[in-house]
């Protein structure tokens, strides 16, 4: 997507396919949320109907990040000039400065595939319409933590306790985000695990002393 390159961050090559970017419980209806996936600035949001959307975090008018916008029903509006975009298809359906104008079909945000499975919100990069090939673990969202370490290194060193699962999302070259889910009686332990994981990678000397 050409507008991806306007991101503040270098775009990292990612495998086409689904990437976990948030816990479902951390995305209530009505609140747009910013995501950085391999340098790509993405906005995820949940319509009042429950449908989850993922777009390039950029209004095509003057480049304002849509993650600072506001949700009304199944639309997301830009905070700068209030341009409103439909959740289904991403087309602009209202420009407040010209209330009687029917916005041209060319005014549209750029879409990513978005889905929910296994207690997580997933975003799809690349073409394709398949659903995330993720088994429904029946686990609940516990916590997401950002770790200043490369995703591959964290993935390799996860050491998950029983009753927990984790998805590692690449954020930047030296930053990732780990989404931890767990059985309902292990959620508190899962939060502790997530924070310990962050300490292990960010302050390894201090962690060794724990």
């Amino acid at each position: 997507m050409p507008t991806e390159t306007y991101s503040d961050h270098p775009i990292l090559p990612l495998e086409d396919g689904w990437h976990a970017v948030a816990l479902s419980r951390d995305l209530p209806a009505g609140a747009p949320f910013p995501v950085i996936l391999g340098g790509r600035e993405i906005v995820i949001w949940r319509a009042e109907s429950g449908a989850v959307r993922a777009w390039v975090d950029r209004c095509p008018h003057r480049g304002m990040r849509l993650s600072l916008g506001f949700v009304r029903g199944d639309t997301l509006s830009c905070l700068y000039h209030g341009w409103r975009y439909r959740g289904e298809g991403g087309g602009c359906d209202h420009i407040p400065a010209h209330p009687d104008l029917v916005p041209p079909k060319t005014i549209t945000v750029e879409l990513y595939g978005a889905a929910e499975a296994a207690g997580l919100v997933w975003v799809r990069t690349g073409e394709g319409t398949d659903a995330p090939a993720v088994p429904d673990t029946g686990l609940n969202g516990a916590m997401s933590v950002t770790i200043d370490a490369p995703a591959e290194r964290v993935k390799a060193g996860l050491a998950l306790p029983e009753g927990m699962a984790a998805e590692v999302q690449p954020v930047l070259a030296t930053r990732c985000r780990v989404h931890v889910t767990a059985e309902s009686d292990r959620l508190k332990a899962a939060i502790a695990f997530a924070e310990a994981l962050r300490r292990r990678f960010e302050t390894p000397d201090l962690f060794a002393a724990e």
């Binding site: 949320f33 993650s67 209030g82 939060i191």
Partner: protein, 209 residues
């Protein structure tokens, strides 16, 4: 003679006090101290009142307070008839003081980082940005744990002065250049504060949400 607040509309510490006064529906007199730019806080009359020269300063009759968290406690104790903003119940009360202390300590970095980013004010801290991020992470972890128990405010199951003490730093995170992609629970929590009756904004805090 009611409350007099020596104020500046660009400071988070003044905002948290005005926020409490507003949700309580209280009138007060505001007097602007000429800073950013200016040295109105060094004027002899101001230093007589507040030797530290910090802004805001609150005067309520004979009481003169110079620390915003103390102002929140005083206003809640003396003027909140509901008793909810500073609860008497010991467990909740302890949590309020815990997180007021967090606001005074860990979270001081947020305003330092903000004044540095906007006005080039050199902070006393070596890395105000990193310290702000660390403080936000603490609050995020706390809210994630509380969410397990269905609790959505910082210290109790309803808003208290601890929430108001912390809210400005979170609401103004964009001033510092801290994005909320690391802090979904903080974002969800902050939206509740926006929804409080009597909520007011300041420059940098969004009006439309």
């Amino acid at each position: 003679m009611g409350i007099v607040l020596y104020n500046h509309d660009l400071l988070a510490d003044a905002y948290k006090v005005k926020l409490l006064l507003s949700v309580l529906g209280m009138d007060f007199e505001r007097r602007t101290v000429g800073i950013l730019p200016g040295n109105g806080n060094d004027a002899p009359a101001y230093r007589d009142l507040n030797p530290a020269g910090t802004v805001p300063t609150l005067v309520d009759g004979d009481v003169v307070l110079t620390r915003p968290e103390a102002m929140l406690v005083h206003i809640a104790e003396c003027h909140d008839t509901s008793g909810r903003w500073l609860p008497a119940e010991p467990l909740a009360r302890a949590q309020v003081f815990e997180w007021l202390a967090f606001a005074t300590g860990d979270l001081a970095a947020a305003e330092a980082a903000r004044l540095q980013a906007m006005f080039g004010v050199v902070p006393a801290l070596a890395d105000a940005f990193a310290d702000t991020r660390a403080a936000f992470r603490l609050a995020e972890g706390h809210l994630a744990r509380r969410a397990l128990g269905g609790l959505t405010f910082i210290a109790a199951n309803h808003p208290t002065i601890a929430d108001l003490a912390i809210f400005p730093a979170v609401a103004l995170a964009a001033d510092v250049g801290i994005g909320m992609e690391e802090f979904p629970r903080l974002l969800i929590w902050a939206r509740q504060i926006h929804a409080l009756p009597g909520f007011i904004t300041m420059p940098g805090v969004r009006e439309v949400i």
